[in-house]
Symmetry: C2
Subunit: 327 residues, 2 copies
DNA sequence: TTGTATGCGTTATCAG
DNA sequence: CTGATAACGCATACAA
């Protein structure tokens, strides 16, 4: 159906190698006589030739494709980061294949399997698993790899926010507001970010109630319902989805609880709830991923070290009003 | 490096064909003697054999992969829909390759090009372009295709919400609240959804101010700033991102404007702004995409017709309070 | 400057 | 039941 090198070779009375060389462009093409070169190029555009990337990949073992496997693309956090990474990678000549494990460890394994069989050039992974060994059971150690958001012990190429610092500034802000007791709504403890955040909060406050479940709105909703009897002064959620669930469950309440949360809460400054948010630097996270991946893709043996970025605390007006202090 | 059929054949004193047949499984495998079958299978697992999908695809012209090319994966609307489609497709044995054109027509063309060269089995597209011809210039007419969210004239396989109805119920709700004049913050008019929504609103209300720009928060912010001099009673935004920008720019205002918007606004019921939202049915949109794609993938020549889903209007408490009426 | 031949790892055809 | 062997479309080492 679609024309191949052979078709063009026939059409132009040349051989496949000549055609291949011409269409390869660059230095190789210039070693071909101008006449045949023009003739071939002409035929190529006339016949609407498009190289078959599958065949090319099989031959060269390069696909110019990087995969990003995230834990939940439905989460705007990963959507935005995916968007940023895609743009950056695109500027460097790679296309991005975005996959979604949906917080399901089995799907993660499957995708890792499939991806490694598909000759991707590199992988950026937001892992569900926590063991280096388990990971390298599925993919080659040779595959250019960057771990995003959830560091794995022993893997140097990783980009994440400093969870201790992020949780620290959140706690600082709450403490300065005189808060002593919190209810904790946490994501699964097997995910390092959720666990660490929860640990630190628990370390610095009196945790009067604690909930754990999938990092989805639903968990936040259910937690809030159970809290309704004795509403705590503060609810800390280990990510934005959980907080979203909590917030959506809050009807009109005279004195709503303070919400402490990680990652962005949309329109938070307008919400009539006091909110403290520990925000990650998304553009920087994305750019660092690319920075760590590119040298690996180029086969450069540069020394790579984990990148750990600081977060910043942001409060909204309702919080500032209640606690008489500025951002 | 990684073992191939040849390696296994050597190891088991058989031929590639035998190995291939055994590993193919099913009816083909059962035509092989139990002894050799076991021997081969054993060797395969022992050597950690993984079929090379690139080679297989080159040979069979099937990749078991569907691509979803969206206009902006940073928009939670598409993130959620991507997540839903991925899950559904996964159940049917396909993996999803999610690509992002970032509302950039050139990137869309590039991705279409690359995807069609990559032997994907099917494509779900949220198009930026509006011409059937332009599209089929890049991809084959034979490629199983579903157009999502922004129908293209002449393409039957398409899933979208009924923009007229969606805009209609939004206008109805505003009208019932006694609203006569609106400011309009619209996305690019070359995108059918934005244009149609804007048209209908303009048809039913007195548009006192009008802004147009990329469907990003920034456009909403800028529009709001320009409106500050003479704040209208109502601002209608043609999507959630624009509204997000508007909302984030609203500081404490005595009597904030009513916001009319399409798609979900997070935590809207708590916001101290009267909001009317015309919401699409995301899970249904996603499922319909898959429903329209699957028969095409299977090569069934069923009759396919555009699916147009209804939207529903939702108001928040602030709106209900101001206008004395329930949802 | 150009052509021939080989291989990438599979599947599929055709013998035996 | 099994084994050669020919594609799939491309890139490339080696000849000429």
């Amino acid at each position: 159906m679609a024309p191949t090198l052979v078709d063009i070779a026939k059409q132009t009375q040349t051989s496949v190698s000549t055609v291949s060389r011409v269409l390869a462009g660059g230095a190789v093409a210039r070693r071909i006589s101008k006449e045949t070169r023009d003739r071939v190029q002409d035929a190529a555009v006339r016949m609407g030739y498009r190289p078959n990337l599958v065949a090319r990949t099989l031959r060269t073992r390069r696909s110019n494709t990087v995969a990003l496997l995230v834990s939940d693309i439905g989460n705007p956090f990963f959507g935005q980061i995916g968007s940023l990474i895609e743009q950056s990678l695109h500027r460097h000549g790679y296309s991005l294949m975005l996959c979604n494990s949906g917080e399901d460890p089995e799907r993660e394994l499957e995708y890792l399997q499939v991806l490694s069989q598909k000759a991707i050039d590199g992988l950026i992974l937001v892992p569900l698993m926590r063991q280096k060994r388990q990971l390298f059971q599925r993919i080659s150690e040779k595959l250019p790899l960057v771990i995003l958001d959830r560091p794995i012990a022993g893997i140097e190429a990783s980009v994440s926010s400093d969870q201790d610092q992020a949780a620290g500034i959140l706690c600082d802000t709450l403490e300065r507001a005189g808060i002593k007791k919190v209810a904790l709504v946490a994501g699964p403890r097997h995910i390092i970010t959720h666990r660490r955040r929860a640990e630190i909060v628990a370390q610095r406050f009196d945790v009067v109630a604690r909930f754990e479940g999938p990092a989805q709105k639903e968990t936040g909703r259910q937690a809030f319902i159970k809290l309704l009897g004795a509403l705590p002064e503060t609810i800390v959620c280990t990510n934005n989805f959980l907080a979203q669930g909590v917030i959506e469950s809050i009807a009109q309440i005279d004195r709503p609880p303070v919400i402490g949360v990680f990652d962005e809460v949309p329109a938070m400054h307008l919400l009539p709830l006091p909110i403290v948010c520990s925000m990650q630097d998304l553009p920087m996270l994305a750019e660092c991923c690319v920075t760590q991946l590119l040298p690996q893709l180029r086969g450069e043996m540069v020394r790579i070290e984990p990148i750990v970025l600081p977060a910043r605390a942001v409060t909204n007006q309702a919080f500032q009003l209640r606690h008489f202090q500025a951002t």
